[in-house]
Each structure stands twice: as structure tokens, then as C-alpha cells.
Subunit: 247 residues, 2 copies
Amino acid sequence: MTGLTGRQDPDWQPVERSRADELVVAQIEEQILQGKLRVGDRLPSERDLAPRLGVSRSAVREAIRALEAHGVLRSAVGVGPGSGTTVAAMPSEALTRLVRLHVALANFPLEDVVEARVMLERHSIRLACQRATDADCATMDEALEQMDGTEDQQTFNRWDTAFHVAVAEAGRNRLVADMTIAIRDAMHAPILRGLQRLPDWRPLRDQLRAQHHRLFDAIRAGDADSAPALVEDHIRFTFRSLPMTED
Amino acid sequence: MTGLTGRQDPDWQPVERSRADELVVAQIEEQILQGKLRVGDRLPSERDLAPRLGVSRSAVREAIRALEAHGVLRSAVGVGPGSGTTVAAMPSEALTRLVRLHVALANFPLEDVVEARVMLERHSIRLACQRATDADCATMDEALEQMDGTEDQQTFNRWDTAFHVAVAEAGRNRLVADMTIAIRDAMHAPILRGLQRLPDWRPLRDQLRAQHHRLFDAIRAGDADSAPALVEDHIRFTFRSLPMTED
DNA sequence: CTCGTCGAATGGTCAGACCATTGCATCGGA
DNA sequence: TCCGATGCAATGGTCTGACCATTCGACGAG
């Protein structure tokens, strides 16, 4: 039908009728990407911004909520410095919530999540071996002692999480640590359910305790060569040992 | 001052006066975490939900915006199936936006981001070597051809990104792929700025082309042992070669 | 049976009001 | 002069109610 050689079929692009709040998000995002808005900077007040962007205050508020969810903005009432809507830097919570929700929705297959966790924690512990300070080790030690001293699955799991978080933090790589923490946190509830499904969790508990102590020893010894394998075995062992069947 | 042995100091917890929309977010999140809301499920309409939760419709809408930002909800007007507010599964965009913004805000030091990218792409390419299909290879090949055939930095960078995205997708690990894509996407603008700062980018361009072809060859050959080192060298080379000075 | 029309339900948008919180300016008493 | 109390202004937080735009099913005309 196209009568001419090389004639292009008209490819109709669906016209983007964005919502008002998305346009506001785009504007604010643009300012950030261009470096015109930096951490600590203050946005105009909602009442000022709305007419400037040609939208209602509601639209501005909804846009702020979206960016707040990403940990990029924060709102505070009152006057003076620190009040109003400012650019923030809280990626950890946002990332954690995002991963937790999508893991719960099973958008990420559990197997993929375990693989990702292995990759991240291998990296984290390698860094931790090289960079952990005495304070980091003290935090880990505290978690280990609490794990050793409890009979409660929930408490055990909480300090288990705390240990892995401490290792990630000790690696001193903000992004890797945040991703590691987000995934470990997302696993918190599934692991607890797995523990509770076991008829007798004490044998597993003892093995996990021993494994954690071995990880800690490797970190204190700065043994960056063997620690990754230890943590990989530990993670795979955990998921092999837990009944993770859904429903 | 505490007269009794073992007397605990009263530790006042700051009373949490959460905002209305945060309470709504918490409720919806709880339903998701407990598996009572699954992908595809429909939420009550905003007008129904608001009085049931004892808040205004605005509060419900702001909560929905926050969860929408995480890619967990999606709203559509109209009646019938597919309309209304439903539970969605779009973690990729949300993760990408989050990482991009925080990288732009320099909350994640560039060095940390590069380290994370190396870790992720090493993993992704190893998986790709094992799992890439012909269709995956065709996508990569297309990207390579486009990179070979352009003189424009922006186009080059776009297809460079496309290549790495294709590798990540070929790995068939949703979570790892999404994280890989998010970080590569966050690097898109800084890399472009770096290219544009070069007095003459053509020598670098040629080297990058050659490196990409080597990566592609390794994937097609299923060489999972040497590919990770190749991609690590490629990434580190890129950032060593680009002037990434801020401001 | 088919097509067109209408209407109900939904989210999208807006305007406006009022409340709660916060810090600062101002004023008055010691 | 100093210091505390008070009032005020600016901010976000919340709610109400209205109207618009979109979608699709129901219903009726042909």
C-alpha cells in the first residue's frame, strides 16, 4: 500500500496525557537531575508552588508524597529553617520498603532473591573484612550474644537481621549496604514464618549460631578470601533448611 | 537518684503522631505483607475507603500516590475490570527512579556506585552466558550495530545502555536485572556529560565498541568464566577514561 | 440481532476553609 | 538592660464538596 520506496508507516505515538501530579514530579525531578536542587535545599511552599506550576495545591501535595516515598523529599510544618518541604537523603528506608513490598507480592521469585542476596552479602562481607572497625565488630558481637541468649524465634530472627545489617554497614559502601539491608529486611518475615513452621527449630538454631560465629571470626581476622564462601554457604543453608512453601 | 536497685529509668518514647496518609499507607502495606492483597487485586474506591479508614479522600489519595511511586499500586479511571486502584507489579521503574535520583543527589558516592555496578554486572553477565537465548543475542546485536553506526554521543550512550540492559535481562533474574538496570540508567546522564567533556571522544568510542563486541562474543560463546572479568575491566576502564568531576 | 445512547462508577482536579505546629518579633515587667 | 510571655505569620495537615473526564455495561431503538 505504501506507494513510495522507503515510505515509512506512520507510527502513531500514544499521546501522553499525564496527570497533574506527575507533571509536578517531573518538574521537581528535573531540578534535582540538573543539580539545581540539592540535599538540604528548600522547595517553595505548597501554596506558592501550585499557582506557579498552574496546578492546584492537591496536585503539588500528591507529587510531594510520591517523592517523599522515594526518600527524596521531607515535609515539616512550622516556620524557619528546617521547616517546609526540603530535599532529603533517605534512600535506605525507601529502598527497603520497595523491596519488601515486591518480595511480598512475589514479583521477585524467591530463588532470584536468594541469588541476589548471596551476591550482595558476598560482596558486603568481603568489604567488611577489609574495613570493619572495632565499633563495627562490637555491634556484630552484641547481635551474636543476643542470638546466643534467646529462645524466642522472633528475637533470634531480629538479631540475626541485625548481624547481617552490621556486616553490610561495616563494608562502608552505602549503595551496596542499602541493597543488602533491603533484601535481608524483606526476608525477615518469610524467614520467621519458616522458623515457626519447623517442628523443632533448635537444631537449626544451633547450626545458625555456629555459622554466624564463624562469619564473625573471619571478619575479625580480615579473611576476605574465605569469608564470601562462608556467607554463601550460610545463606544457602538457611534457605535449604527452612520450609518456605507459599500458602 | 533512682532509689531502688534495678530501677529502670523511665524511657519516654516520643509519641508517634503519624499523618493520616501514612496511616493509610501502613494499612495497605499490612494487607500486602499478610498476603491479603495480591497482584491484580482491586482496592475499594477512594470514596469507599476514606470513611472506612476514618480519613478524608485526600489522605487516601496521597497514600495511593506514595505506593504508586513504589510501583505497587496503579490507578485507572472508569468502571469495570482494570479500572479503579489495583495492586500492580512494576518494581523496575520505581527502582530506577529511586536510584537515579539518589545518585544525582550524590547520596551514593560515585565510587560506591561503580563498585556496585561492577558487582551486579559481573553477576548479570555470568547468568547471561548461561541463559541468553537467540532473541537476547539479537537484541544485543542490534544495540551493537546501532553503536557502531552512530557518530552522536547521545545516541551512542543510549544504545550502550540498551546493550547492558539486554545483558541484564538475558540473565533472567528479575531482581538482579532491575538493580543492574537501575544503576546503569542512573549512570546514563553522568556518562553522557563525561563524553561531552572530552576534547575528542572518538578514540574512547572505538575502544568501547571493541570491548562491547568482546563482551557479546563471550556471551554467545557461553564463556561464563572469563566474561565477568571482561565486564569489570570494561566498566572500570569507562570510568577511568571519563572526566567525571562534579561542578 | 446490532448499533447507538445513556448513565453509573471511577479516578482527576480544583477551590476553599480551617487546624496544628513552629519560630520569630514584639512588648511588658523586673 | 534583660528576659520571659504573648501574639503573629508562615508552613504543612486535613477535610469538605464540587465538578470534570473516562470507561464500560445496560438498555432501548431500529
